[in-house]
């Protein structure tokens, strides 16, 4: 191995990158630019071939060219373009056949198709293939490997308006991508064993790999990758379905290139695994099975492309079998057959495509006697088919001879080996049979009757690629050593090293056993066709005899359906759509995880018993009341919503008093005002909830289930309660820990200028929490507003409340009263009181706010108190009345509040201090004396403003719904009246 000189690196880069570049350019071409896309692709393929040819002289001596571009060096993953004999050969196949396919496709594709896209995909695929064979890094190989799957998916699905194309594409992608993922894991394991993903290192580390316990797994995964790609049994099923692709794609991907990627991979790893037992049994065994199954199935196809597809499967099986044998000569034969298969199969596909194109059908039952209409094509096809059948003077014959020789050579060890010659001959006979059938039914016999048009020869340029390929078949078949010898040798050297075993590339090896088997196979094939030909052509049910159950498409669909059903089952039964089970699960998980955590070291410390102090009895009595409220609320909430609201308020009051009792005056104040607002809020909401209707009918079975659920919920509730109580108790009876609070208490007055430590924490030490908290409030205000703008009440809450309607009606009915009098009479006295309270509540709020820093109070309590003052006005006088007099724009309040808080926080920046740094000072003011001035108070002011805005917004927005309803009703009534008026 030598460092690659610059020009060579450049060429390497070109052959990898150019196709992708072309793909990008092609994708940008206009939809109907058929010719320019083809020319572009053609140029790209030719340039690449040229580069490859320039590099050829270097590989005669087994040289390896490498160009490493760093991609993910820390993962050991690089872009290593590595060109050796084997990859040169494959690359040549890819580019060469690619060039021919491009030419062919130019004529094959309809002008109606978006052809540039086709060429774009084709070029991208070509690049991906190049990437696979040029990979010097295992992960890089996987990357391009998956890209080939991807682009083949796009190519198969090119005519996505056909269901078969869609399904074929999906199947191919599913199977080959699955293989790709397996391959990735396999490569990662190899990389783990070897310590490197570089191909050279891996091949050099053969012994290390084989000694590793991971090796069977790694090999298995890699083989899954290889075997899926090269359509080996039982993964072969995707290939026939992929025939829905345009024929150039089939010719290219499904005969010459993509399926050969699997073969290539096997060859790549052959030096490492080639002689292991597992390799032998898996690759050899599956290869043999595929060889036979593919051939057997091919016999029964009526679709030309189907026949070719199964034949391809069979030939790939043959190549795998050769590789699986583990012998050097087998490997050489495999390489040789790879080349040969590519040439004859590509030409056959193209021929089939021509027939399809010009005769309008690929169904062998409809086709007949085409030799009269397209003699040149027929000739070409016949030659290629003969090569496929292994007729002498054609390339297929040579590699088949090598195969038969290998089959005979390894008959010593196992039963498989002993059966090998027989099975090999049988498979050869089958291949003769289907080749013969292909030719005979298509080109011979009476002229076709069931075709829509008269077949004719294609445009000559469309035939050109076929001609080239068929010529190659002939040339190789006649002059193997001259034409293919050097390439084969350099590839074999890559796999086997320089001490190659003797092999002869000659047309004639004398009379020997392989030749005899060959003759038997030939005779057998012809004989079988003579005997069964009619039955095969007629076979009304289609499909291979005895393999009905192995219908690939059916199996795949089944597997997809099963996968779908399984997934749906999982989603349905291991998931939950409804809220209650979700909450149940969360609570259960929390309980269980807490229990598990506790089990690992939860120590209950029992405090020493102390006689309860008498005054605590009152506390106990208080909670007797509070607890009863909670339980009663739980009891009543379903049918007596109002009672539940009241009871909830009771429990809240008990919490407030607890805060008083246990040294938390700020909490008591805040909770109290919040309690009030919450009650009003819930009542505003209650307006829009239905009166409890008659019992919802619940069937018996559901009732039983519901009973069980209730039981479970009761258990969860009790466990949650018990757990919370236990934990709280366990902490409360422990001595306090020395935490951060000491700092707060010690510094509150000296450094933050406030005596109320809780408030100082809120507006200074941890002001950022408060900053966030008011934002939450603001956000909720906005959300509520947004929701209520679109609020659509339920139909049964649409109308005015019963009370209103009855009272208004009675007002209307009674002499001397007008609508609304009941309301105004009722609210007259309360209104006076509530209005006069307004300034006093403002006063209270101002005090709460100002004293907050030193005494219980603070911005939040002040803000809520202030909003209660507004709410009282709304309650006593109605929304319209208030809003005619006070301009309340809560959203602005929210914005201003947030801005004040932010600005007070940003003051710190001026002094290059962090956000929310506060300043305080005792200022001597005239008349007032020493007054503490803390900038945190400004922050608290922001809190007040925001809280007022958000609270009022939430409550008023809800309250306005009634007004809006009333307005809508008025409008509707008006419209109705108008309509009536119009009608009369």
């Amino acid at each position: 191995m030598i460092d690659t000189p610059v020009p060579a690196s450049f060429l390497l880069l070109v052959i990898l990158v150019l196709p992708f570049l072309g793909a990008m350019i092609a994708s940008g071409l206009p939809r109907h630019a058929r010719t320019s896309a083809a020319v572009l692709s053609w140029i790209i393929a030719l340039i690449s071939v040229g580069c490859l040819a320039v590099l050829w002289p270097r590989f005669q001596d087994g040289e390896v060219l490498k160009l490493t571009l760093a991609w993910l060096p820390s993962l050991g993953v690089n872009l290593t373009i590595r060109l050796d004999g084997l990859s040169w050969l494959f690359s040549a196949l890819i580019l060469g056949i690619g060039a021919l396919v491009v030419l062919y496709a130019r004529y094959y594709m309809s002008p109606k198709d978006p052809v540039p896209r086709f060429f774009s995909f084709l070029l991208a695929f070509m690049g991906a293939m190049q990437g696979v064979v040029l990979s010097g890094n295992l992960i890089q190989l996987v990357v391009f490997w998956e890209l080939t799957s991807l682009f083949s998916f796009l190519l198969i699905g090119y005519w996505h308006q056909n269901a078969s194309a869609r399904e074929g594409a999906r199947m191919a992608l599913t199977i080959t991508a699955t293989g790709g993922v397996a391959l990735l894991v396999g490569m990662i394991l190899i990389g783990r064993i070897v310590g490197s993903y570089e191909l050279d290192a891996v091949i050099a580390a053969r012994d290390v790999i084989l000694a590793s316990p991971l090796y069977p797994v790694a090999l298995g995964l890699i083989l899954i990758g290889a075997l899926t790609k090269s359509a080996q049994f039982p993964f072969h099923i995707w290939l026939p379905r992929a025939m829905a692709a345009p024929t150039p794609v089939s010719a290219y991907l499904h005969s010459a290139t993509m399926v050969k990627a699997g073969v290539f991979l096997l060859m790549r790893f052959w030096p490492v695994f080639g002689e292991t037992e597992m390799w032998y049994f898996v690759v050899g065994g599956l290869g043999l099975t595929t060889l036979l199954v593919g051939a057997w199935c091919a016999i029964f196809q009526h679709d030309l492309k189907g026949l070719l597809a199964y034949s391809t499967i069979s030939h790939l099986g043959l190549i795998c079998l050769l590789l699986g044998l583990g012998s050097d000569l087998g490997a050489i034969a495999a390489i040789f057959h790879t080349i040969n298969h590519a040439t004859f199969k590509a030409s056959l596909f193209m021929a089939a495509g021509i027939i399809d194109h010009e005769a309008g059908s690929r169904d062998m039952r409809k086709l007949s006697g085409l030799i009269r209409f397209m003699p040149i094509t027929a000739t070409l096809a016949m030659v290629a088919a003969a090569a496929m059948a292994g007729v002498p003077l054609l390339n297929g014959f040579l590699s088949k001879e090598m195969f038969l020789a290998e089959a005979l050579a390894s008959t010593q060890t196992s039963a498989l080996n002993q059966a090998l010659p027989v099975l090999a001959t049988l498979a050869s006979a089958f291949s003769v049979l289907y080749s013969l059938r292909f030719i005979h039914t298509t080109f011979f016999g009476p002229p076709p009757t069931e075709l829509d048009r008269v077949p004719h020869e294609p445009p000559s340029w469309m035939r050109r690629p076929v001609e080239v390929l068929v010529a190659l078949c002939l040339l190789v078949g006649v002059f193997p050593a001259v034409t293919v010898g050097p390439f084969l040798r350099s590839a074999a050297v890559t796999m086997l090293g320089f001490d190659l075993p003797y092999y002869s590339l000659a047309l004639w090896h004398g009379f020997n056993l392989p030749l005899l088997l060959s003759v038997i196979a030939m005779a057998g094939g012809i004989g079988l066709y003579v005997v069964f030909g009619k039955a095969l052509n007629a076979n009304p049910r289609g499909g291979p005899w005895g393999m009905k159950r192995l219908n690939g498409g059916y199996l795949f669909e089944r597997s997809q359906v099963i996968l779908m059903d399984l997934s749906q089952w999982i989603v349905r039964h291991l998931g939950a759509q409804r809220l209650q089970p979700q909450l149940r699960l969360i609570l259960l998980t929390a309980l269980l995880s807490a229990a598990v955590a506790a089990a690992g070291g939860f120590v209950l410390t029992w405090p020493e018993f102390r006689v309860p102090q008498p005054h605590n009895l009152a506390f106990a009595a208080l909670w007797l009341a509070g607890g009863s409220c909670a339980l009663a609320a739980a009891w009543q909430a379903k049918y007596h919503r109002l009672a539940a609201v009241i009871l909830m308020g009771g429990a809240g009051l008990a919490s407030c008093l607890t805060f008083v009792w246990l040294s938390a005056p700020d909490l008591a104040l805040t909770q109290l005002v919040v309690e009030v607002v919450t009650t009003v809020l819930l009542l505003l909401g209650l307006r829009w909830l239905p009166k409890r209707l008659a019992e919802i009918h619940v069937p018996e079975s559901e009732q039983r289930r519901a009973r069980w659920r209730r039981r479970l919920d009761r258990v969860i509730a009790i466990c949650a309660g018990a757990g919370a109580a236990l934990i709280a108790w366990a902490v409360m009876v422990r001595p306090p820990v020395e935490g951060v609070s000491r700092f707060f208490v010690e510094r509150a007055y000296e450094e933050a200028g406030g005596r109320n430590v809780v408030n100082v924490i809120l507006v200074d030490f941890r002001a950022f929490d408060t900053f966030g908290e008011i934002t939450v409030l603001g956000v909720v205000g906005l959300t509520v507003l947004a929701l209520l703008r679109r609020f659509r009440p339920a139909s049964d809450s649409l109308s005015q409340p019963m009370q209103k309607r009855v009272q208004d009606a009675s007002d209307r009915a009674r002499e001397g009263r007008s609508e609304g009098d009941t309301l105004s009479d009722t609210m007259m006295i309360p209104g006076v009181v509530m209005r006069w309270l307004f300034p006093f509540i403002i006063l209270l709020a101002v005090h709460l706010f100002l004293r907050g820093h030193d005494l219980p109070g603070g911005g939040f309590a002040a803000g809520v108190a202030l909003s209660i003052a507004f709410i009282l006005q709304y309650m006593s006088s109605g929304a319209r009345w208030v809003e005619e007099r006070l301009e309340i724009r809560p959203i602005i309040w929210i914005g201003v509040g947030l801005l004040i808080a932010a600005i007070s926080g940003a003051v710190g920046w001026i002094f290059d201090q962090p956000f929310l740094t506060s300043y305080f000072q005792y200022a001597d003011l005239p008349l007032l004396g020493r007054v503490p001035l803390a900038s945190a108070v400004l922050f608290d002011l922001g809190v007040v403003v925001l809280v007022v805005g958000a609270t009022v917004l939430i409550l008023v927005a809800l309250a306005h719904q009634s007004l809006r309803r009333a307005r809508i009703e008025e409008a509707e009534a008006e419209a109705e009246a108008e309509q009536k008026g119009g009608a009369q």
Binding site: G76, T174, T589, G601, D769, L782, R789, L899
Partner: protein, 531 residues
């Protein structure tokens, strides 16, 4: 280091808040102004985030071996609240800004008109997310979680409609429950340790009296359940699918980051608090996170396969992504974590893009939706009821092809298939996992592989249904607004960028993981008194 750089860290939190607050002073008619302000805000946040990211990758904080600490109110940790910009948090902030900026651009095409105060809610959501990533204080984390959730409630319900409200109700109920658990957990931890600062906690945990450790663990477990609910671990995360798939596209897209906040906290806390040297608490809960992560991957994958709709599949993709990160974190291995961090970034962007694509494609399937009005037929009031507006500029030519490409990229990202960033992340994780002893490594590898396949199968099916014609020659008709195209392209460009500069990105992620498993440096940075 200049002065303004000192304060840079607070920018991603305060700036969106201030601009959102300023927006409230203008009414909804000042649409252009608000759109412009939003764009400006997102651009500025992005710039700040990138500056922070650059700094933690290279610059002033010593090549990322320490963190920038910002003591709010100038009170020292652990007493005051600190913001900590370390490798992980800055990365997450940068991710948020990219995703947020693209979602905002997407919304500008039309969604910002589907309900009031969209821009303010959106910016406040960004504020909450950034705060949650940057804070170094457990209770402050709660506060930012709440900001984020409160805004997300608003955005989830943005545009109204029955499906959204139904899903929103469950979403709120579940998250309120989780928030209660959060509070219980945090306060219990405070009750046992006396501190709320994360770094200080890390110092105190080894010293917890053995008699108290059980209580501490109970607190940690409850807290963990809260976070795991928010990052949608199975069986706690069923809310996610309904909510995200029902949400309007830009909201859902930006929500892709929300569940990651939970995952972020799990990573942050489990590596900070339960590191190897945290005494009897070392490795606490790790096994459960691992198992939960695996279950989540499995469930999410099944969900993608079973999904009937692209946006549902995208939601399940978010779940899979969460599960993957959790499982990786559950292994406790730095290399796996490095891969997971990289994966997290890519998959979040891709999920965001998928939500946008889902909306565009669903719209395309509905012939009546071309004008963009039929989407809201069920509305009480047409959200776009104001003056007729012209689609801004051009309709992208060959929209279907472009969307197909975009869809392909998203699929590859989410499935973690080559050659994009999703693959790099998975590769890095698998590479590291293959070196782990025990079943965990192979278990996670298997799960990741199956998840890839499941995502591929599921998304391919849905993508084919949406993008490939059905039995007639007509291509499916899709209209993409310019802003929408730009947004999707932006996200996907970021994905491609991540793949091309994978090494730099991965190196960053890997160093981040190394930094995370050495919590002493973090502790020193925070308690040692700033940078």
């Amino acid at each position: 280091m200049t002065d303004w750089q000192e304060h840079l860290i607070i920018g991603p939190i305060v700036l969106p808040m201030v601009i959102a607050a300023a927006m409230l002073l203008f009414d909804e008619r000042r649409r252009l102004l608000k759109g412009g302000l939003s764009l400006f805000a997102m651009a500025a946040i992005l710039a700040m985030a990138l500056a922070l990211l650059h700094e933690s990758a290279t610059g002033a904080t010593g090549g990322g071996d320490t963190a920038r600490v910002y003591q709010l109110g100038d009170w020292p940790a652990p007493f005051g609240i600190v913001l900590v910009a370390d490798r992980l948090s800055t990365l997450m902030v940068a991710l948020t800004s990219v995703l947020g900026a693209c979602s905002m651009i997407f919304a500008l095409a039309r969604w910002d008109r589907a309900g009031p105060r969209f821009h303010a809610l959106f910016l406040l959501l960004v504020m909450g997310v950034n705060g949650a990533f940057l804070t170094g204080d457990l209770f402050n984390l709660f506060v930012f979680f709440e900001i984020m959730l409160a805004a997300s409630y608003g955005l989830a319900l943005h545009g109204s409609g029955e499906a959204r409200i139904r899903a929103g109700l469950a979403y709120i109920a579940v998250n309120l429950t989780a928030s209660m658990l959060f509070l219980i957990g945090v306060s219990l931890i405070y009750g046992v340790t006396g501190t709320l600062n994360m770094a200080d906690l890390a110092v105190r945990i080894p010293q917890i009296a053995e008699a108290d450790r059980g209580l501490f663990h109970v607190g940690a477990a409850i807290l963990g359940v809260a976070f795991l609910t928010k990052c949608a671990m199975w069986p706690l995360g069923f809310w996610l699918t309904t909510t995200y798939s029902a949400a309007s596209a830009p909201a859902a897209a930006v929500f892709a980051i929300l569940s990651k906040v939970g995952a972020y906290v799990i990573i942050r806390l489990s590596f900070l608090l339960f590191a190897a040297d945290s005494g009897a608490s070392a490795g606490f809960g790790q096994l459960w996170i691992l198992l939960g992560g695996l279950a989540t991957i499995g469930f999410g994958t099944a969900g993608i396969i079973a999904a009937r709709d692209l946006s549902i599949a995208a939601a399940y993709a978010v779940i899979v992504s969460s599960g993957t990160v959790l499982a990786a974190a559950g292994t406790g291995n730095a290399d796996v974590l490095g891969g997971a961090v990289f994966y997290l970034v890519g998959s979040t962007l891709a999920c965001g893009a998928l939500f946008m694509l889902a909306e565009v494609l669903n719209r395309g399937q509905d012939p009546g939706a071309r004008s963009g009005r039929a989407v809201f037929e069920d509305e009480y009031i047409d959200p776009f009821d104001d003056e007729e507006r012209n689609e801004p500029g051009l309709v992208i030519p060959a929209a279907v092809a472009a969307l197909g490409g975009a869809f392909l990229i998203s699929t590859l990202m989410i499935a973690g298939l080559p050659p994009l960033a999703g693959f790099i992340g998975k590769l890095a994780m698998m590479d590291a996992l293959s070196g782990l002893a025990g079943w965990a490594g192979y278990g996670v590898i298997a799960a990741l592989s199956l998840a890839s396949l499941g995502a591929l199968i599921g998304l391919t099916r849905l993508g084919m249904a949406a993008l490939w014609a059905r039995d007639d020659d007509a291509e499916p008709a899709v209209v993409v607004g310019a802003a929408e195209g730009v947004a999707i392209a932006g996200l996907l460009a970021a994905c491609i960028f991540l793949a091309i500069f994978g090494e730099a990105g991965f190196a960053y992620a890997d160093h981040t993981a190394d930094w995370l498993v050495r919590p002493d440096a973090y502790v020193r940075a925070v308690l040692g008194g700033g940078s």
